[in-house]
Each structure stands twice: as structure tokens, then as C-alpha cells.
């Protein structure tokens, strides 16, 4: 019994430490007037990050659009990062790499989708808690 308890305690402490060191990817979804947008970031931290954006129409079909631009912004500090255009991987699937985040805190990550001269913006909130 005591051995079992010791194992449990050890696992608890290891788990708690791992919980504090977590830094895995983030996937969020948002909707605009015409699209369902899914954003996947490899990590919410400083440095070169990869953002993968999947754009679907309201029926759930992958949507081919003219341009997808990402625009990170930290409103609390009035800090904007350069906008970047995502590259198309396949129909409705886009990817962009860049240094999106440079301060700790909550960032707004706008995905601007353009088609036929119309622009719609999907807005995501990304908590950046690691350098």
C-alpha cells in the first residue's frame, strides 16, 4: 500500500511539474460571415512560429480564397507585429511562419481572408506565457 502511495505521490509531483512547463501547440476556431476558420499554432511563445490556417465555407467544405494575411496585435501594450501573407498548401489550407509574438501577455491574432475584393477577419485570442 505504501509503495502504491509513493508511486502516486511521485506521479503527482511529476505531473504538477509538467503542467507548469507545458508549451504545446494551440488550436482555435472562429467564424466570420462567410467562413469557418481554424488556426493552429505550433506554440504560443517567442521565436519563429508556424501558423496553419484552415478555411471552410459555412457548409464545411474547404474554401479557396484569394489571400490570407495574419496580423498579430497586443492591444494592451499597443504593439503590432508585421502582417504576413500565408502561403497556400492546398485548397482551404494555408501556412505562414514568422515571429508573431514579442511580449508576454494576451495577443490578438487576426486572420484576414480576402476573396473578390471582400475582406473578412477571424479574430483569435492567444495567451503568450513563455519566451
Amino acid at each position: 500500500m505504501s509503495r502504491f502511495i509513493a508511486c502516486c505521490c511521485m506521479l503527482t509531483l511529476i505531473g504538477a511539474l509538467l503542467a507548469g512547463c507545458g508549451g504545446s501547440g494551440i488550436t482555435q476556431s472562429a467564424e466570420t460571415a462567410s467562413y469557418k476558420v481554424q488556426l493552429t499554432l505550433d506554440a504560443a511563445s517567442f521565436g519563429q512560429r508556424i501558423a496553419t490556417i484552415e478555411v471552410q465555407d459555412k457548409s464545411g467544405k474547404s474554401a479557396q480564397v484569394d489571400q490570407v494575411v495574419v496580423a498579430p496585435l497586443m492591444e494592451a501594450m499597443g504593439m503590432a507585429s508585421p502582417e504576413q501573407t500565408a502561403q497556400s498548401l492546398s485548397t482551404g489550407r494555408y501556412q505562414v511562419q514568422g515571429e508573431f509574438f514579442s511580449m508576454l501577455g494576451e495577443w490578438e491574432f487576426d486572420v484576414k481572408i480576402s476573396k473578390g475584393g471582400q475582406e473578412e477577419i477571424a479574430r483569435f485570442k492567444i495567451p503568450v506565457n513563455q519566451q
Partner: protein
């Protein structure tokens, strides 16, 4: 059966405990804390003073003094009194400035009670003297509910685990088994510690959720404060070109009319004052010292006659940053030539080569522009730019008509305050991102710090 119940209970408690322990949530943007940095011009000397505010009193008040320029031969004196009381008779701490590259000077004062205090900082040296009165508050900072209990429980858990491992090892080597009550006791102790840790952890967890809700606005805790009004006075009353003058700022509450004394530091200063002549040839980014509640005095020497605009950037407690602009006139004559602003490209400033580029050949209103400053010296890229006001660089943008005023910060993390900032460097490239809100001609000034000197890089752009 009882073992199964205990195991199930343990598994549940472990889950609760793991959820209850907070992750690493390091948010930036707080304006209060154990250390606050105040950058101001004390006479002709710009000095950043970091006050390490104690969590109680009586206690020593540690001061980290970081001159932003050479203070060789400068005597700096500090004394603190409860706000509203006279400084006469208060104990003085004195620091003597050394020439050359500046580090951080340390001194301390004794604080005997909590509440609102005022720190008087005096600097006197070959180039002149000045005084600043800096407000700060000492409040009790109790540990969150359950913190002590949680630490004790986790400590007990670790001790019991070590004891369990030792007894297991000893038991394997002995022919005679250890007494059963010993293993039973250790097991019960671990179980008790685990339960206690889960309870106190859950308390922590609920307070974290409450704080998060408050921060996200679910629970309204802050309602903001009225706007500020600004009156300015010059001394002499009619300032003259090439003559020293004092610009006094009087800030008052927009609702009560009373002097504002609730300013908090943002980017390491209570007030950021930018004074620009109408033609943009005179530019000064200053941090006037507080001389009385709501009053700040800036010493400057305008170099040409005409209209000047003072942009005053402040942040009141529980409120956002606001900029108030006021004009004043300077008389006299001048031999200073009208300014010529360079656009993109290379230039030499303070002996450094600064190459400025932009992401667009043409700038359009409403479209994002990215400016990149690249620093080098004799062909060698420089990566030893120092933090100034907590950032790698500042960019001030102003439209020709004075209506648009932008204060943009270089991309990159803020430098830590006080001693922790030592060794934080930036460069060789620093980027600024700004969206010009309307078409027109803009004057801009990039500002950086290297080798205890402020480097100012003026340029201009046309926005369509």
C-alpha cells in the same frame, strides 16, 4: 475493498491537485509590484530610480539608481517622508556619481510605517542641479489564502515520500521486517498531506479563477477615472530662443479640478513629455520630475522662435494612457537653419551608421508600415543597444499639422526593471510597426540608447 476506496480517492485527489497547481502564467503590463522604476530629468541629469517597495513596515527601502548618462562628479541625495510631511530633518542617503560607463548605484532608507510616501531625489553636479519628488505607496501584501497551508502540505508530502523510500530500502536489507506501524504511519502521513494539499490547492485554484475573471472583465472591478486637464506655464513668461526656460505642467482632474496625484509609471516614467517646434527642428523627449502634486517642471532651451507643442503622455491609476497637447510660444531671433528631414537610407548619428528601411516604397493611410533601423559602426553590426524606458527603442511620429501623435515601441520584449535590466541588449536591427491613420506629411524620431547616450534619428515620410 477499503484499499480500492483509498486508491480511488487518491487518484481523484491527484487529479484535483494537478489541476489546482497554477501553470506558468507570466503576464506583462502590471503597473504595481515590489519594484517600480521612475525615470526623470533631475536637473540636467536623466536618472532612473528603482524603488524596491517592501511588503510591510518598518523595513529598509532599497533604491537602485541607474543614471542614463555620465554622472561623474554628481552628488545624488535621497530622503523619504510620509506624504504631506516636510522633508526637513529626514535622514539623507547620499551617492556619489562616478565618471565613465554607468552601472547601478545602491542605497537605502529606513521606512517606519505603511501608507503613502514621497521620495525626494536631488542631483547636483557640474552641469546643474535639480530635484524630483516621487510618490510611492507601501501596502501590506498578504499571501493568497491557502498558500502557507499548501506549502506545508507539499513539504510534508516530500518528507513522507523520502521516509517511505528510506524505510523500503532499509526493509529490503534487513532480515527482520520493520514494524508494521512505521509503514502504516508513513502511509497515513502521506495520505493526510495529500488531502491537505488538495484542499489548499483548490482554494488557490478558485482565487486564480476569480482573478482571471476580474482581469477578463467578467467581474467589473475597475471603472476608470476622469480625464486630465493640462495647464502649462513658462518661466520666464515670454520664453526666448537660445535662453533656458522652465516649462511647468499642471495636471488637474477633469471632474473635480483638483491636482492629479494618482499617476502611475508607464514605461518607467510618470510623465513622458515631448516638445516639438512647429517646423520639427527642435525635438526633446523628456521626463520632467514631479515637484508637487500634479505639478511637473521641465527645463529646456528652445533653439528657435515660434510655436512649440508640448505632448504630455500620462497614465492615471486604473485608467489608460492619455496624451494631452498644449502649445506655447517662444520669442527672439535665431540663426538656426530650417530642418531637413531625410527619408529612408543610411545616415551617421553619434558616430554610428544607421540604415533605415521600410517594407513599402510608398506609404498609404490605413496600411501597415514596418520601419527597420539597422545599427553598425565601421561596418560591424552593433548588438549592444541598451534598454531605454524599458524598451529597445521608441519612435515618435507627428503629422505636420500636429494633430496626429504616435508613440511606437520597438518590437521585442520589455527589459526587466532595475538590476535585472543589466546585460539586456538589443540590436543590430530594431523594428517598429505603425499604421498611419491619415494621409499627410509626417516627421518621425527614432530613439535608442547606447553607451549611456540617447541616439535620436529623425526622418520624414509622405503618406498617401
Amino acid at each position: 475493498m477499503s484499499h480500492r476506496i483509498i486508491r480511488a480517492a487518491l487518484a481523484t485527489l491527484m487529479l484535483i491537485l494537478m489541476l489546482a497547481l497554477p501553470g506558468l502564467a507570466l503576464a506583462h503590463g502590471g503597473h504595481t509590484g515590489p519594484a517600480q522604476t521612475f525615470t526623470q530629468d533631475i536637473g540636467p541629469y536623466e536618472i532612473a530610480i528603482t524603488i524596491e517597495i517592501p511588503s510591510g513596515a518598518p523595513a529598509p527601502l532599497y533604491l537602485n539608481i541607474a543614471p542614463q548618462e555620465d554622472v561623474g562628479g554628481v552628488t545624488m541625495q535621497f530622503r523619504a517622508v510620509p506624504r504631506g510631511q516636510p522633508f526637513a530633518g529626514a535622514a539623507i542617503a547620499e551617492v556619489q556619481g562616478l565618471p565613465g560607463t554607468q552601472g547601478i548605484y545602491y542605497t537605502e532608507l529606513a521606512i517606519d510605517r505603511m501608507g503613502d510616501w514621497e521620495l525626494e531625489a536631488r542631483a547636483s553636479g557640474p552641469r546643474g542641479s535639480g530635484v524630483a519628488r516621487i510618490p510611492f505607496t507601501i501596502t501590506a501584501n498578504p499571501m493568497p489564502a491557502g498558500s502557507i497551508g499548501l506549502f506545508v502540505a507539499l513539504g510534508g508530502l516530500v518528507v513522507a515520500m523520502i521516509a517511505s523510500i528510506i524505510t523500503s530500502l532499509v526493509g529490503q536489507r534487513r532480515t527482520k521486517p520493520l514494524p508494521g506501524w512505521l509503514r502504516w504511519g508513513i502511509g497515513q502521513a502521506m495520505f493526510a498531506c495529500l488531502i491537505a494539499a488538495a484542499i489548499f490547492g483548490a482554494q488557490q485554484f478558485s482565487s486564480i479563477i476569480q482573478n482571471a475573471q476580474a482581469a477578463s472583465g467578467t467581474i467589473p472591478t475597475v471603472v476608470g477615472r476622469p480625464h486630465a486637464n493640462l495647464a502649462i506655464h513658462t518661466n520666464p513668461g515670454t520664453a526666448q530662443a537660445s535662453q533656458p526656460m522652465t516649462l511647468t505642467l499642471n495636471l488637474s482632474d477633469g471632474s473635480t479640478g483638483l491636482p492629479i496625484d494618482d499617476l502611475i509609471t508607464h514605461h518607467d516614467a510618470l510623465v513622458h513629455l515631448v516638445v516639438i517646434s512647429a517646423d520639427g527642428g527642435f525635438y526633446a523627449h523628456m521626463h520632467p520630475p514631479r515637484s508637487a502634486p500634479g505639478q511637473f517642471d521641465a527645463a529646456l532651451t528652445p533653439d528657435r522662435p515660434g510655436r512649440y507643442t508640448a505632448y504630455v503622455e500620462i497614465e492615471r491609476l486604473d485608467s489608460g494612457i492619455q496624451v494631452i497637447a498644449r502649445d506655447f510660444m517662444v520669442g527672439g531671433t535665431t540663426s538656426v537653419a530650417p530642418p531637413t528631414f531625410q527619408g529612408m537610407g543610411e545616415r551617421t548619428v553619434n558616430g554610428l551608421q544607421v540604415h533605415l528601411t521600410a517594407n513599402n516604397a510608398q506609404f498609404k493611410a490605413g496600411k501597415q508600415a514596418t520601419f527597420t533601423f539597422s545599427f553598425s559602426q565601421q561596418g560591424k553590426p552593433l548588438d549592444d543597444l541598451q534598454p531605454w524606458l524599458g524598451m529597445g527603442g521608441h519612435l515618435i511620429a507627428r503629422s505636420d499639422d500636429g494633430a496626429i501623435f504616435g508613440h511606437i515601441h520597438a518590437l521585442g520584449p520589455m527589459a526587466p526593471a532595475g538590476l535585472m535590466a543589466t546585460g539586456t541588449n538589443y540590436g543590430p536591427n530594431l523594428q517598429f510597426v505603425y499604421t498611419f491613420p491619415q494621409a499627410g506629411h509626417y516627421q518621425l524620431w527614432g530613439q535608442f540608447r547606447r553607451a549611456e547616450q540617447i541616439i535620436t534619428v529623425p526622418f520624414a515620410v509622405d503618406v498617401q
